[in-house]
Structure formats: structure tokens, C-alpha cells
């Protein structure tokens, strides 16, 4: 139907690839600029996953979500920067250099969907797609001051998403307001038989800000050790606003939080060690050396092509699954994961949604999280929703030292509509 001229400057390095002249069609997103995280396949447009190992790779097909965006008229204007294969909380682990936070260029935008968050927050695009394995949509949304949602596991097809940790990750919408999140959910939740985990549960809903009588649980652990006191008090103010709008606030406990983060990292690294075995230089990426021995060529490709964090996680996962350690790490992690699910199940018998901070702090300074474990620990409040497969949204709820903070709302399995309603009620309450 038309072409969108897209050549705005990119001072925060939000994009890896830009399409200066993007085609668009008719539909609910006709002519709207939409950015797509660079681990989501786009036919004819390079898809790097933020890694040198996919240099030169051009997908021969579109991901299901990209087909759906195009069918509704969107102009795909580019592929956004990310931590390599989604492995990071800052977008500093990109082979193409870090993205900067539009609110303060001395700070990270969060990750791993940091490019998408910066593109939306800076106004370059109205909306973007991210992916969330352990918080990778919600963290950058909180750090950059936008809305971002990890839908229920299975609600959006992962066909065409380059896999990192299949049992945890979901594609999800990022935008500047809750109505746009809701619109993207309507567009993206079509059932897809090509992803066997895709559930047939289309989202047909308009956000409703009436939360009178709604029970909101606040787990004590979400305000525990490691949570910045200023972030905690900002988020409590947001929860009080929901109370003033008619919700009932109930404090509760989530004991499985003690080992949720360890369970998450054992699971995601184990899955990564298997998934990333496909990058061998044979089918895509800088080619293998046919004259060398298989293992020599394979090791050389992977040492040159993968960054340190990716290699660290592949090795950790290989170790957690190796003979003699499987029972101590992987099997225990799966039991812990079930305990997290049980905690959510028990709490959702008593309350409708759970609320707390999205991240324990405001955005880190560039280079602040150089030690891997200290970076992992900052994911503590986002990983439970991934382990349980439940929906969770981050909505901006004020600032601390001039930097955005995020209110996180988690809901029942397939309760994406209710999560969006609560976020909408908060947003409307703030602007009222």
C-alpha cells in the first residue's frame, strides 16, 4: 500500500539494522513504524541475535509474529539491539556495542530487549517487539520508562524466534501506553500450529480501568533484601493508588523465591547449551573449515563467534546436565520450578493479581555489572513469572533520582486481560 521513510537519527544505538524505506499495508497498524528485536526472524532482513556468529545470515522466512504485524499493515522499520542471544540484563553483551538509556546516556537501558525499549522510549517508533526469557522485556521497560509485557507462555507463537531457552521465553509487546500493548496482544495472539506450545486462546479485549473489589497480593519477598529502598517506596505509592481506586491490598509470602533465581539460571543455561549447538558454521554464519577436523573447526567458529557471556552460559549448562551433576543441579532446579508454580497457584486462590517492583534498582551505570553473578541477581523479581509461565507486565510508576521505576503486575495463567486492566487502571489513575 505504501512505503514509510524511516531515517531518524539513532543517538542511543537502539538499532542493529534499519530499513530506511519500509513497506506497509492496510490494517490496524497501517503505516505505523514497528521495531523488532533482532532474534526474531524477518524474511530478507539480516537477523543477528546481537552475535557475530550469525554475521551475514538472512532468514528465508518470517516469524509468525512478523507475518501478523505485516498482515495488519505495520511497517517493520528495523531490528533492535540486544544482549547476544538474549543473555544479559543490560544490552552491553551485544557484539555491536551497547545501547544507551534515553533517560540518561551514562546508564544502560536494561536488557536483553534494550534496543526495543530505547527505540520506543526515545519516540523513534510507536511500538516494538521484545522477548522475555527471565525479564528481558520487563527490565528494559522499567529502566527506560515504558510499558512492556511478557504474555502467558504459549499465548504468542515462538515460530521464527531464534531459541535460547524454549521452556521460559515468550515474545511480547513494548509501547508507551497500555492501550498499545493491548492492541498488539490482539494482533499477536493468533494460534499457530507450527509452534506446538502455542495455545488457542486469542486475546479479544479492551482495557477496563474498573478494579473495584479486585484483590492484589503483595509478596513480602518483592520488598526484601537487595531492593533499593527508594524504588520500594515509589512502587508502594503506586500500589496505594490502586487501593484508592478500589482494590484490596493483601500482603502475602512466596517462599520459593529463595531458590527461584538459581532454578532459573540452571534451567536457562541447560536449555541454551543444547539450543546453541546449532551454531556450527555449516548452515549459516561465517563458514566452517571443510579441511579441518569437525571438533577443531566447531571450536574455532564458536570461540570467534560467541561472546564471553554466551560461552559462559553454554559451559554452565553443559556442566549442569553432565553425568554426576544432573541430580544436584538440573533435577533440583525442576523441583524448585514446580514449587514456584505451586506458590503462584496457592496465591491465586486468595488474590487476583500480584504486584511489586519490576527491578530491584534503577538502571545501572554503563559497565557497573561486570561480574556475571551480580548481574544475574538483578533478575530475581522477574524470573518467577517465566518459571511459572504466567503473564506479567511492567508499567512506569514514577522516578528515583530522575530515572524511571517500574510497577510489575503478575496474573493467573491466561489472565493477560486482567493484568492489562490493572496496568490500565494505574495508568489512568496517574493521569487523572
Amino acid at each position: 500500500m505504501g512505503r514509510l521513510h524511516f531515517s531518524a537519527p539513532d543517538p542511543y544505538h537502539a538499532f542493529i539494522t534499519r530499513i530506511p524505506d519500509a513497506e506497509y499495508g492496510e490494517g490496524r497498524l497501517s503505516g505505523e513504524a514497528v521495531a523488532v528485536k533482532d532474534n526474531i526472524s524477518t524474511r530478507g532482513i539480516p537477523t543477528t541475535c546481537g552475535s557475530r556468529i550469525l554475521e551475514g545470515y538472512i532468514p528465508p522466512y518470517d516469524a509468525h509474529v512478523v507475518e501478523l504485524l505485516k498482515a495488519d499493515g505495520a511497517a517493520i522499520v528495523g531490528k533492535t539491539n540486544m544482549d547476544e542471544f538474549g543473555m544479559g540484563t543490560t544490552t552491553e553483551n551485544s557484539a555491536f556495542g551497547p545501547t544507551l538509556n534515553p533517560a540518561d546516556t551514562g546508564r544502560v537501558p536494561g536488557g536483553s530487549s534494550g534496543g526495543s525499549a530505547a527505540a520506543v522510549a526515545s519516540g523513534m517508533v510507536r511500538m516494538a517487539l521484545g522477548t522475555d526469557t527471565g525479564g528481558s522485556i520487563r527490565c528494559p521497560s522499567a529502566f527506560c520508562g515504558i510499558v512492556g509485557m511478557k504474555p502467558t507462555y504459549g499465548r504468542i507463537s515462538r515460530y521464527g524466534l531464534v531459541a535460547y531457552a524454549n521452556s521460559l521465553e515468550q515474545i511480547g509487546p513494548m509501547a508507551r501506553n497500555v492501550s498499545d500493548i493491548s492492541l498488539l496482544m490482539e494482533i499477536l495472539t493468533a494460534h499457530d500450529p507450527r509452534d506446538s506450545t502455542s495455545i488457542n486462546c486469542p486475546y479479544c479485549h479492551k482495557p477496563d480501568p474498573d478494579i473495584h473489589g479486585l484483590k492484589i497480593g503483595v509478596p513480602e519477598e518483592y520488598f526484601g533484601e537487595g531492593v533499593d529502598a527508594r524504588v520500594a517506596s515509589t512502587v508502594w505509592e503506586a500500589i496505594s493508588l490502586l487501593e484508592r481506586r478500589g482494590a484490596e491490598i493483601i500482603t502475602c509470602r512466596m517462599p520459593s523465591m529463595t531458590y527461584a533465581l538459581a532454578a532459573y539460571y540452571v534451567t536457562c543455561t541447560s536449555e541454551a547449551s543444547s539450543n546453541l549447538a546449532r551454531f556450527d558454521g555449516v548452515r549459516y554464519g561465517p563458514p566452517a573449515e571443510p579441511k579441518k577436523q569437525w571438533h577443531d573447526s566447531f571450536q574455532e567458529r564458536r570461540r570467534e563467534g560467541f561472546g564471553k557471556e554466551v560461552r559462559r552460559r553454554i559451559m554452565l549448562g553443559t556442566f549442569a546436565l553432565s553425568s554426576g551433576y544432573y541430580g544436584k543441579y538440573y533435577a533440583k532446579a525442576q523441583t524448585a520450578r514446580q514449587n514456584v508454580r505451586n506458590d503462584f497457584h496457592r496465591l491465586f486462590c486468595e488474590v487476583d493479581v500480584l504486584a511489586g517492583p519490576t527491578m530491584p534498582t534503577i538502571a545501572f551505570l554503563l559497565g557497573e555489572k561486570s561480574d556475571p553473578l551480580s548481574m544475574y541477581l538483578s533478575d530475581i523479581l522477574t524470573v518467577p513469572a517465566n518459571l511459572a509461565g504466567v503473564p506479567a507486565i511492567s508499567v512506569p510508576c514514577g522516578t528515583v533520582d530522575g530515572m524511571p521505576a517500574g510497577l510489575q503486575i503478575m496474573g493467573r495463567w491466561c489472565g493477560d486481560e486482567q493484568v492489562i486492566d490493572v496496568a490500565y487502571a494505574y495508568e489512568q489513575g496517574v493521569s487523572a
Binding site: G56, Y57, I58, P60, Y61, P193, S196, T197, T258, Y259, A262, A263, Y265, V266, S273, A277, D280, G281, V282, R283, Y284, P286, P287, A288, E289, P290, K292, Q293, W294, H295, D296, S297, F298, Q299, R302, R303, F306, R311, R312, I314, M315, L316, T318, F319, A320, S322, K328, Y329, K332, A333, T335, A336, Q338, N339, R341, N342, D371, P372, L373, Y376
Partner: protein, 89 residues
């Protein structure tokens, strides 16, 4: 505690390729991370099992797929419609 020798062995298993100077760095970091993972020892062995899991099957029917040229278009080394890979033996 895992040693540099263990890390070298894992790197071999994972075909990841590791250099001498990285070995020390990775070993220190792995020990920090594995110490943290020890918290999983506190998990009680028996959790309630997931009961609502089911398999998703489809009929084994041939459907259209990408043409061979498109499938091969990203490969660096190819020959007569095949991927060309390093020798295994």
C-alpha cells in the same frame, strides 16, 4: 570447588574453544556461580507433580516447505544441493 582442569574438560564437552588466559577467569566465575547454585540443596526432593501436561501431536502429512536453494542460501560451503561440513573422522 571446580578446578581449571574441570573447566577445560567442560569446554571440550561443549566444543566452545577456550584460551589459556580465559581459563583462570572462567574458573573463578564458575565457582562463584556454583556456590550460589548450592541454595538448590535446600529444595525438598518431592514437589507436587504437574498433572495437566499433555502431548501435542499432529498428523504426519506432507506440507509445503522452503525450496532447496533458499534453505542452502546461508551456507558458506555447499555442493550438489548438500551442506558441506568438516570431516568427522
Amino acid at each position: 570447588m571446580i578446578s581449571e582442569r574441570d573447566v577445560k574438560h567442560i569446554a571440550e564437552l561443549a566444543d566452545i574453544g577456550i584460551s589459556g588466559e580465559e581459563l583462570d577467569e572462567f574458573t573463578v566465575q564458575f565457582n562463584d556461580i556454583l556456590d550460589y547454585f548450592d541454595i538448590l540443596d535446600q529444595v525438598e526432593a518431592e514437589a507436587t507433580k504437574e498433572t495437566d501436561l499433555y502431548n501435542v501431536f499432529r498428523e504426519d502429512v506432507v506440507t509445503p516447505s522452503l525450496p532447496q536453494e533458499e534453505v542452502l542460501c546461508n551456507a558458506g560451503e555447499k555442493e550438489d544441493g548438500f551442506f558441506r561440513a568438516p570431516r568427522v573422522m
